[in-house]
């Protein structure tokens, strides 16, 4: 346990000044603007919004600047800021089927209505450092515009499978069913899928990536296929009390991953593929895929599978997925533990003394 200490105010103040000074770095180099971070480090902004659990590009960019690019620190800043704002309510669930798609791929079907659209991706790049980017005055290439636009709305690949009953159906519950919210109530177990999905959506990308990978390597294997990944803009609708009908607040960018997994059937039910689902703010594809893998692994109880692997243990996953909590507890070890340590020191000394006395007696 750590203890309260007094003093050190001047050193703390000066440390704040020192880090501000270091954040700014060499004064001969122009300072980064929030707009530059938003525009040119957009994927970092996306991650901070997703795990910070607050969609606001400029605030996320500000957090990244303030944290000197330490994304977990930036996520912490955004989480802290959100506690200062009132909540007006909850949105109508977003409809990813009506997304204005900027990227949409499927690893299960080659030909899908609307087509496979690569969009902006590093997937097929060679991962060679581009020394052309060293020159910050150089002209950058412009995107190509095709004469015909992509389809306005593309059907979900899983809906195509669903038409033939080949994949388990996702059915909505009645609208009045309350939805668990981990920002209002502490986690309790067993957790229902909506609570798990909220936890995974804001969970640490690295942690979920590792867990997702572990399922592929055999720790809770469920043989996944990417049914579909889509990226694009969806409208967010909200029903203000004073109006009583839904209005659009604007559009947000989201990434959705539909993982199609090994089948499940019984004597009464023909075999069907099962689902894992991932959804994030912005363009966070690795995260959406990892989330979908872990979502599927955590469904082991409802699918009557043996829970033997870490990724299938919901308490283990959900209690350790949050990087703000994890970072807080790990980093609290830096706080003064002088009293605790003194007690341990006394203990070790007495054990050594006892052992020494025994040896001398023999």
């Amino acid at each position: 346990m750590y203890v309260a200490v007094k003093g050190g105010e001047k050193a703390i103040l000066n440390s704040h000044r020192l880090i501000e000074d270091e954040r700014r770095g060499d004064r001969g180099i122009p300072e980064l603007s929030i707009a530059q971070i938003d525009e040119q480090l957009g994927l970092a902004v996306d991650r901070v919004m997703t795990e910070g659990s607050l969609y606001d590009r400029r605030l996320a960019a500000l957090a990244i600047k303030q944290a000197q690019g330490d994304l977990i620190e930036a996520i912490f800043l955004l989480r802290a800021y959100r506690t200062t704002l009132p909540r007006f309510g909850a949105s109508v669930p977003i409809d990813t089927g009506r997304m204005q798609v900027r990227r949409r791929i499927s690893a299960t079907y080659k030909d899908i209505p609307g087509g496979q659209v690569l969009g902006p991706t590093y997937d097929y790049t060679h991962r060679l450092l581009d020394f052309g980017l060293m020159d910050d005055e150089a002209e950058r290439c412009q995107a190509v515009s095709a004469p015909a636009e992509v389809d306005a709305a593309m059907p979900r690949v899983t809906d195509l499978l669903g038409r033939d009953g080949l994949i388990e159906e996702e059915t909505a519950e009645p609208d009045e069913t309350p939805i668990a919210d981990l920002t209002r109530d502490p986690l309790t177990f067993p957790a229902e899928r909506p609570l798990r999905l909220q936890n995974l959506a804001r969970g640490d990308e690295g942690f979920l990536l590792g867990l997702g990978y572990s399922t592929q390597r055999g720790y809770g294997r469920n043989h996944p296929f990417v049914g579909e990944i889509r990226l694009g803009e969806v409208a967010v609708e909200f029903v203000p009390e004073e109006l009583g009908f839904p209005i659009e607040l604007g559009e947000i960018t989201v990434t959705e991953c539909q993982m199609v997994n090994q089948f499940k059937g019984s004597k009464t039910k023909p075999a069907q593929f099962t689902r894992g689902y991932g959804l994030t703010f912005g363009h966070c594809e690795r995260k959406a895929m990892s989330m979908a893998l872990v979502d599927r692994a955590l469904r082991c109880r409802e699918l009557d599978e043996d829970a033997t692997a870490p990724a299938q243990d919901e308490e283990f996953v959900m209690m350790h997925s949050d990087n703000v909590e994890a970072s807080g507890f790990v980093q609290h070890l830096k706080l003064p533990h002088y009293v605790d340590f003194q007690a341990e020191l006394v203990m070790v000394r007495s054990m050594r003394a006892a052992a020494g006395a025994k040896e001398a007696a023999e």
């Binding site: 607050l54 400029r58 309510g89 977003i94 515009s145 015909a148 967010v236």
Partner: protein, 151 residues
């Protein structure tokens, strides 16, 4: 129950509120500046920034869950003749919410200049979407599956 006329009115209002909320704040400001006359108005509710919890559905169609929050700014204004307009816009711009609310009131009053301005904003949005969709379309692919080994 609302009659057919009422629901049509609501649909029209939802459309213009969507356009006003979805337009960049600077475009709404320019639309405001472009009005031949800018009406006096009072705040019924001064601009206030808060959050809305964005919900998703498992698998896109299934059970609802809380994805995360977004910042939203809202405002309510009253024109001299008592018409009340509301603005709810994503983000933290008080001015955007104020102007969205004012345009909402003008549209309810069937103001022609406001209607033309909203139309222009809608056209700009359509053009932005088309430009994006055309860039996206240039990355549409046909994968050929390559036969591996014999047969």
């Amino acid at each position: 129950m609302a009659g057919q006329e009422h629901s049509e009115e609501t649909a029209a209002r939802r459309r213009w509120m969507s356009v006003l909320a979805g337009a960049p704040a600077a475009e709404v400001e320019a639309a405001w500046e472009g009005l031949p006359a800018r009406p006096e108005r009072q705040f019924l509710r001064a601009p206030e920034t808060g959050m809305v919890m964005v919900r998703g559905r498992a698998g896109g169609t299934g059970r609802r869950f809380n994805l995360g929050e977004m910042t939203v700014t809202r405002c309510a204004v009253r024109l001299d003749d008592g018409t009340v307009g509301y603005g709810y816009v994503a983000g933290r711009s008080p001015r955007h919410a104020e102007l969205a609310a004012t345009f909402d009131a003008l549209m309810l009053r069937r103001d022609e200049a406001a209607a033309a301005a909203v139309d222009a904003l809608a056209r700009a949005r359509k053009a932005r979407r088309s430009a994006t969709a055309a860039k996206t379309a240039s990355t549409k692919v046909d994968f050929f599956t390559v036969v591996r080994g014999e047969n």
